[in-house]
């Protein structure tokens, strides 16, 4: 049913439709609405779940892990400082192979304090073993809720899943969303079955320690499972489209890249704006395109190469900076191209930090820069040329 919803509300519907059995979460702006909405659904009976009001984010995820160890489907949500506070448990869920799903409302991290959206929180935690997807809009957010369980719980994957939604511009923006029926959702998403749980007939010891002799094997499996997730994502999207009629394009989305000379690579909601600018420039006869990274882990290395191999130059636009180097997404993209032997001029644009607006003009300027080859390697949007040292 077409409904006018915020990203948070849409996502909450996705969680309801996923028949989540245990929800544990702690409030933080801009995640709060998703938890409030789930609390409402819990109260009105439309969501049959154990709703746990935990006392911290660390406990939110620790509780979800405990519930997952009983074989229950679990959900938590957080943002920014909260995500950082649960960092220990992120490793724990991943290493223990507990397919917890978390919604992270992307938000700037202190200091300076700031509640607005950027992606430094989740991109700073890429190595924690979680699948990381970045949503474009409210519809994709809802759909990712359903798909995340399908993918995370697959026996080939067994890996926790973080759905990232840009704080405010997605979480708090209202738009049209098609909310599927429970019957459709049930057809797509089976209930959770796992062997990675307690068992009263054959008691198990979980989350144990492993010495240097065998430890690497467990880490290797974690890595292998994440790589296997690529195929499972494809399968899940195929079945998703059969049931719901909406198609997704796997680890990344290409928009008018087949003959594009200049391409912006980005992730999250800002891709929507880039699409509009691509259309405009195309109308003016300029061959530009967009690559939207949907999954940063597992990383679409081959797909990136395929999408960029015919381009003359590209820029990575991201709401993140790894201080002393460049944006983390840029590093990942360049590394993928290097692995596949592609070397073309590229530029990194760091924008949207602390919720700074990324405008239509900003995107035009980026295309302009890469076309003329006048961009610097790493450009902070909003910073004037004379503020740089060299």
């Amino acid at each position: 049913m077409r409904t006018f919803l915020s990203g948070n509300e849409a996502f909450a519907h996705g969680i309801r439709l996923s028949r989540v059995q245990v929800v544990s979460a702690y409030p933080i702006t801009p995640q709060t609405v998703v938890v409030e909405k789930l609390a409402e659904m819990h109260e009105d009976g439309s969501l049959k779940t154990e709703f746990i009001h935990v006392e911290s984010e660390h406990s939110a995820l620790s509780c979800a892990i405990g519930a997952s160890a009983t074989g229950a489907r679990t959900f938590t949500a957080t943002s920014s400082q909260g995500l950082l506070y649960m960092a220990e448990c992120l490793h724990y869920a991943a290493g223990g192979r507990f397919p917890v799903v978390m919604m992270n409302a992307n938000r700037s991290t202190a200091l300076p304090w700031n509640i607005y959206g950027d992606q430094r929180d989740s991109l700073g935690l890429l190595d924690q073993g979680w699948i990381q997807a970045y949503a474009l809009d409210a519809q994709e957010s809802l759909d990712l809720a359903l798909m995340s369980y399908r993918i995370a719980e697959d026996s080939r994957v067994m890996t926790p899943f973080m759905v990232n939604m840009d704080g405010f511009v997605l979480t708090h923006t209202y738009e049209v969303v098609d909310v599927p029926t429970q019957e459709q959702a049930d057809r797509f998403l089976p209930s959770y079955r796992t062997d990675n749980r307690f068992d009263f007939d054959n008691p198990r010891n979980l989350a144990f320690s492993v010495g240097p002799e065998q430890n690497f094997r467990f880490k290797f499996r974690e890595h292998r499972a994440m790589l296997r997730a690529k195929k499972v994502i494809e399968e899940a999207e195929r079945e998703f489209s059969d049931v719901f009629g909406r198609k997704y394009s796997g680890l990344l989305e290409e928009y008018k890249t087949s003959d594009a000379e200049y391409v912006i690579v980005t992730l999250g909601t800002v891709a929507g704006l880039v699409k509009e600018v691509v259309d405009e420039l195309r109308n003016a006869g300029i061959r530009v395109g967009l690559v939207r990274i949907r999954y940063v882990r597992p990383f679409p290395d081959v797909e990136i190469y395929e999408a960029l191999k015919n381009a003359r130059a590209f820029a990575v636009l991201e709401k993140d900076i790894s201080f002393g180097y460049e944006g983390t997404v840029y590093t990942n993209v360049k590394s993928a191209l290097y692995s596949h032997g592609l070397s073309i001029p590229s530029y990194n644009y760091v924008g949207g930090l602390g919720g700074a607006d990324i405008s239509h003009e900003d995107i035009l300027r980026i295309f302009d820069d890469i076309k003329s080859g006048s961009g610097r390697m790493v450009t902070f949007l909003g910073v004037s040329e004379d503020e740089y040292d060299e």
Partner: protein, 108 residues
């Protein structure tokens, strides 16, 4: 209660230890009570029970941190026996025995 359920439950020493890649579980989840090494080598002194003195009060059984003292029927009387595979020789049993029926002897 089935026979299986009646059987005493206890971690036990296994003959083989998972080591090859296909024996290693995918996740950190494995059969509980799976023991691959004993603790006997930790011991420098070992408790020896004098069944003449033992009155079967089970204080030693109750206070053993390793749970390696077991109830045993000997000529219809309750006595105890020790699993020397897992006894570390701490000496608590000897200390709590009211009848001084357990002595700590040097390991030979």
């Amino acid at each position: 209660m089935s026979d299986e359920q009646k059987k005493t439950l206890k971690p036990s020493l296994r003959q083989t230890s998972p080591s090859s890649p296909d024996e290693i579980p995918e996740a950190t989840c494995y059969e509980g009570g799976f023991l691959t090494t004993a603790n006997a080598s930790w011991r420098t002194v070992k408790p020896v029970v004098d069944n003449e003195k033992c009155i079967g009060c089970l204080e030693c059984y109750l206070y053993c941190p390793d749970g390696c003292i077991f109830k045993k029927q000997l000529e219809k009387k309750l006595k105890v026996e020790i699993d020397y595979d897992f006894c570390k020789g701490c000496g608590i049993c000897s200390k709590v025995c009211r009848k001084c029926a357990i002595t700590m002897e040097k390991e030979s």
